[in-house]
Amino acid sequence: MTLEYTQIADDIISVPLSANPNRSALAKALRKTAHIIEVVEGTQTLVIQYDCLAISSTEIISTFETNLKAKHAVDAHVSKVLIIPVIYNEEAGPDLKQVCEALGVSQTEFVDIHTQQTYTIEMIGFTPGFAYVGGAAFNLPRLKQPRIRVNAGSIGLAGGYTGLYALEGPGGWPIVGRTSKKLFDPDRTNPFILAPQMQVKFEAVAS
């Protein structure tokens, strides 16, 4: 297999690889390599930022290819399913009513559909800990006017994804509920509990 590397400026290199559990394990291994500053997973690429005065792009590519051939243990969390309790009501999900109207379903039907399947987190990105959960049964547009403040734990739906807001902040996705689970805990060594390729299932709770 010949990969097509794209050099993006002096210190960034991109390689086409679609999201999958092995890619996440490879990314994790690369993050431990000296002079590598960032390894970020996109939807279709893996991008490496490195100290270009300490290591050359040729060395980065050979390090990458060595790691690509090696077998990396896939994280244990990939095989487990994390249950995310969600409060689906109009207080926790200010757009729930409009979303149900747009989809032509009752709120009960919506909750049944959304909590039915097991999903995979495709990507963490945009803002700290924001999770793109793939495979939503609904393909909704973003809000015309993004909100300046969305509560931490908010559950949004847009473009075939369910989005989990780990932190309070701005947001443009219609919000259908909120989880009581703490998605961000600054006191933990790893403050973010969600990671790419993790499997999640939503469970409706009263509060």
């Binding site: 993006i8 400026a9 002096d10 993050r31 997973e41 690429t45 270009c52 005065l53």
Partner: protein, 310 residues
């Protein structure tokens, strides 16, 4: 009791080292928007290069030293006084307890850096003291500084004696910024006409800019994009272009992934200039090859090394 803020200007924050190796969790780098000026301020007082400094936006800053210290200023040249006496930038000054510093509005540039000998005390988040305002993390309770805040001094020992930064190492300030760039992964989404013209024309900055990004105005590039590109990694210095044809440049607090074509990437050696661009300034892009960009960075690093390791 150490530095008491009297006027905090448009936006003042504590910034230290950038966060590294956390972009995969959506955590941006943060740190000084003009990290080169922050580094020079630290060198001037003899600190380690990424010690915590105060980043002052568009001047209008006043503070009282409640403890004697050495301090230095770099970056956007604001007319500045210590107890009514005008003081120069790029060198260390002594202040007694009770003296006040006052920065007026800069004529050029946007961000000024105040370093004190031994550094400012700040909260750490993910190994860095840098403030990330959108999530209120790091720095001074994750917030911008406001009047009556008190910032404590650290007692870190300076690593070198204070160094007067020679004028040849002072970054230039202008209202027209040349930026050396490489082609981004989606450069070919630009029309063939724009693939050439983007390197020939001066482009105008709009009125919307912050530590996350700089919006260009009335550029109207022709971009071949249906707005459905999958989200891919972006970095400080990435230039994306949405369907409306007005590109935006990402800065140190920017999001970590983006779904618009990445048309250009500012080279490492020039990224610090982004922190000095103000609303309605002009910019021009100079096409540079990645290996040339490595050489440019090497020369810049050597000049700094010669200064700190005589």
């Amino acid at each position: 009791m150490s530095l008491k803020i009297l006027q905090s200007g448009m936006q003042s924050t504590l910034q230290g080292a950038p966060r590294k190796n956390f972009r995969h969790q959506g955590v941006p780098a943060s740190g000084p928007a003009d990290d080169h000026s922050a580094l020079l301020a630290n060198i001037a007082v003899g600190n380690k290069l990424d010690e915590t400094v105060i980043e002052i936006t568009a001047g209008g800053f006043e503070a009282k030293f409640e403890k004697a210290t050495e301090f230095a200023l770099t970056g956007a040249p604001c007319p500045t006084s210590l107890d009514e006496t005008t003081i120069p930038y790029y060198k260390s000054h002594h202040t007694d307890a009770g003296s006040a510093i006052k920065l007026d509005v800069p004529k050029l540039g946007l961000r000024t850096y105040l370093a004190i000998s031994g550094g400012f005390k700040a909260e750490k988040f993910l190994d860095s003291t840098s403030t990330y305002l959108p999530a209120n993390l790091g720095g001074h309770e994750g917030m911008q500084l406001k009047p009556n805040d008190t910032i404590e001094f650290l007692n870190n020992k300076p690593t070198t004696p204070p160094i007067c930064i020679p004028p040849r190492l002072h970054p230039f300030f202008s209202n027209l910024w040349p930026l050396r760039v490489c082609k981004g992964p989606e450069f070919s989404a630009l029309s063939s006409k724009n693939q050439k013209s983007i390197f020939r024309e001066n482009l105008k900055i709009g009125s919307r800019l912050n530590r996350m990004g700089i919006q260009l105005d009335n550029v109207s590039l022709e971009i071949n994009s249906d707005g459905r590109m999958k989200s891919e990694p972006v970095f400080p210095g990435t230039i994306q272009c949405p369907e409306d044809g007005n590109p935006f440049i990402l800065l140190t607090d920017a999001q970590t992934t983006g779904g618009y074509p990445r048309i250009l990437q500012v080279i490492s050696a020039d990224r610090h200039r982004l922190g000095q661009i103000r609303p309605h300034d002009g910019i021009s892009f100079i096409l540079t090859k990645p290996d040339e960009a490595v050489e440019i960075l090497k020369q810049k690093k050597n000049a700094i090394n010669q200064l700190t390791q005589p």
